[in-house]
Subunit: 402 residues, 2 copies
């Protein structure tokens, strides 16, 4: 838990604090004394601990254990999809069932850390702009901590998620606009009311929480890394978090495999990461620092203008991710890919997963839609072990709506 | 996995097969060679296994491991409720978050075993009468196994659950009546179409799956048993399963604590277990066989007539549990209790749990409503460790409906 902040771009360091960006504009990630951490967190010690994400507490930035705000997040199943493997002639396909977290989505992980950091500091009011799942997660964790929460959501957010935020007692602001416009509302509250902002890249906790998905996949595969990670990408901090997790495990010598290829999937009608990847893959020189904890992004990245956004209201609809350049850099460095899938392909993939017993959100279904394209293009083969991330329950979107 | 069936009433044994009742009418439970099971399933071996309910596979009745139908069930969090402890002056209160199972309820456990048993035998079509959660669980597990499923539900079943059954591809029969009348529809399909009936006490798998809740609570508490289990009771096989689990752990010497007091909670307007308990507690002589694997129920138990049923459509609305006498016997033997709570008390308890970050179904909230009464009556004290079972997600019922 001894840690500092390190700029992924310029390598400047800061004492640990609740900030998200370096003065150079680069993303600040938490930098641990890894050797010290594993003095108490050995592989065998992990077996003695409950299978929640807090089993990795030495590599999470909360210092006061009694201030951890936990609802039982992490420790989600990784299930093998034998029928898909047969159908697609692939070696191994797994689904990481992130919908089995508290509040039914992977957002529980990041919010558990972010709210714990606020709880350590005695904060009274947390706030977040969100497409839905981060909002209901904040609402639940703030309730658990006895803290107030305000969430700002695009007005077309699925009704069950708005209900869920209300259920946990959050104040809700419905915005006529997209998630970055919801962000403007939260910024106002930060300035005027002293709210604590737990939006993407506003503080270091959420990426740290999400990185535990990477630790878990590695542990669940017997401290091996998969070859391919297919991830539905909006703000992209899941990708940043897992990339960081795998780097840390490599640095520790806990895994000997190369970095998995990250494949970002977005829905047609809002594909800034896909466009950034296409614009960068032939030209960008990605500088990877020798210690491999840093990336010097030279990727081309531009937000999607509002008027071009036509995709459905899901977690993938993020026209201006706070560090799109870093996401594209990770995709490039890992020799991965980024691809667009249509709403029709997502719906079809969701039906296919339902027919195999999996409750897949549109975002989770998009990863299967992406895998089908990867397989058709020969970009994954029968030598690859692939992990799809089902980030939320279908039910959260209203099943009939799908 | 070597096992047979043992009648809990008359002690007659049968080779393992898919039957639920003895010729004497007693419940058949699976009887294992416990000493043999723990040759490979030691406490230290368990630490090497994934934290799903199949970690206890030597004490589950599926013989062909490759036929296990799993979606990542079990291994749910047990979270401490410090604020409730302070408010109620209790020593320890825990919530077992069964809503974090696949399909968002504890029913996943029983259906994973039941469908695995059918999958071992090449069954093509499974069917169940249900108040909702068992139906959507069967739908998902049948889909995973490539099996057909038919579910019969009272017409007033919450819409999101009906949607969920449809999502997984089950055929749905909506019945103008209660769960036992839905059962008549399924019996017809069993006779005319050869469906396999996985209803409560129709086969031995579901109780075995549910018993893993008991194993997990014991393991999560460091191989200690809680003092009190508060459980929302409909068909009651969760109570029967956990009672069996604790007996098995005691027989193995893995726990040294006495049986927890089982408290069954039902909603006013359908309280056959509460009435059976009231009618039996002063008079019934409960025969416990010397080997403690059996109970000779002499409890008074009568189903609630349809015309007296006024409770909400939840999993607790079961006027005629297939072995109510056994449930009452377990409550009596464990020196537990059974209590009715009102719809208003349930709604109030649900709000209270929401305010602590927990997504509680009406059934789960009923356990808190029950605990409040127990505490007020002095039936739980500051010496007791209490576990509440939150059996399903609030969302499955439509949050706004609450």
């Amino acid at each position: 838990m001894k840690c500092r902040l390190l700029c992924v771009r310029c390598a400047k360091t800061y004492p640990f604090q609740l900030m998200g960006k370096c003065e150079c504009g680069g993303v600040l990630l938490v930098d641990y004394d890894l050797e010290r951490a594993v003095r108490t967190m050995s592989k065998s010690e992990l077996k003695e601990r409950p299978f929640t994400m807090w089993r990795y507490r030495e590599l999470l930035p909360v210092h006061k254990e009694e201030r951890i705000v936990s609802l039982g997040e992490g420790g989600t199943p990784l299930i093998r999809m034998h029928r898909l493997e047969e159908q697609l002639s692939l070696k191994q396909v797994w689904v990481k069932r992130e919908e089995q977290n508290p509040t039914g989505s992977f957002k529980a992980r990041g919010m558990s850390v972010a709210v714990s950091l606020l709880h350590e500091r005695g904060a009274g009011h947390a706030a977040v702009p969100s497409n839905g799942n981060a909002a209901s997660a904040l609402a639940a964790y703030a309730a658990r901590a006895g803290m107030k929460a305000t969430v700002a959501l695009p007005r077309d957010c699925p009704a069950p998620i708005i209900d869920e935020c209300r259920y946990y007692g959050a104040a809700i602001e419905l915005i006529d606009g997209l998630i970055h416009q919801a962000g403007e509302r939260i910024e106002l509250g930060v300035r005027e009311n002293g709210w604590y902002h737990v939006g993407t890249m506003k503080e270091p906790g959420r990426v740290e929480g999400k990185k535990t998905m990477g630790y878990e996949v590695a542990e669940q595969l017997g401290w091996k890394l998969p070859d391919v990670i297919v991830y539905p990408t909006g703000g992209g901090s899941g990708v940043i978090g897992m990339w960081k997790a795998f780097r840390e495990l490599q640095a520790l010598g806990w895994v000997n495999d190369p970095m998995p290829r990250f494949v970002c999937v977005q829905e047609e009608g809002c594909v800034p990461v896909v466009e950034g990847f296409a614009a960068s893959r032939d030209t960008a020189a990605i500088g990877v620092a020798a210690d491999k904890r840093r990336l010097t992004p030279r990727a081309v990245f531009r937000p999607t203008p509002n008027e071009r956004v036509t995709s459905q209201p899901t977690g993938m609809r993020v026209p201006a991710p706070p560090d799109g350049g870093l996401i594209v850099s990770i995709v490039l460095e890992s020799q991965g890919s980024a691809m667009a899938v249509s709403a029709t392909e997502i719906a079809e993939a969701q039906r296919r997963l339902a027919g195999m017993g999996v409750s897949a959100s549109p975002e989770g279904a998009a990863t299967l839609a992406g895998l089908l394209k990867l397989a058709a293009q020969g970009c994954v083969t029968d030598r690859d072990r692939v992990v799809l991330f089902n980030t939320a329950h279908a039910q959260k979107y209203g099943v009939t709506a799908m």
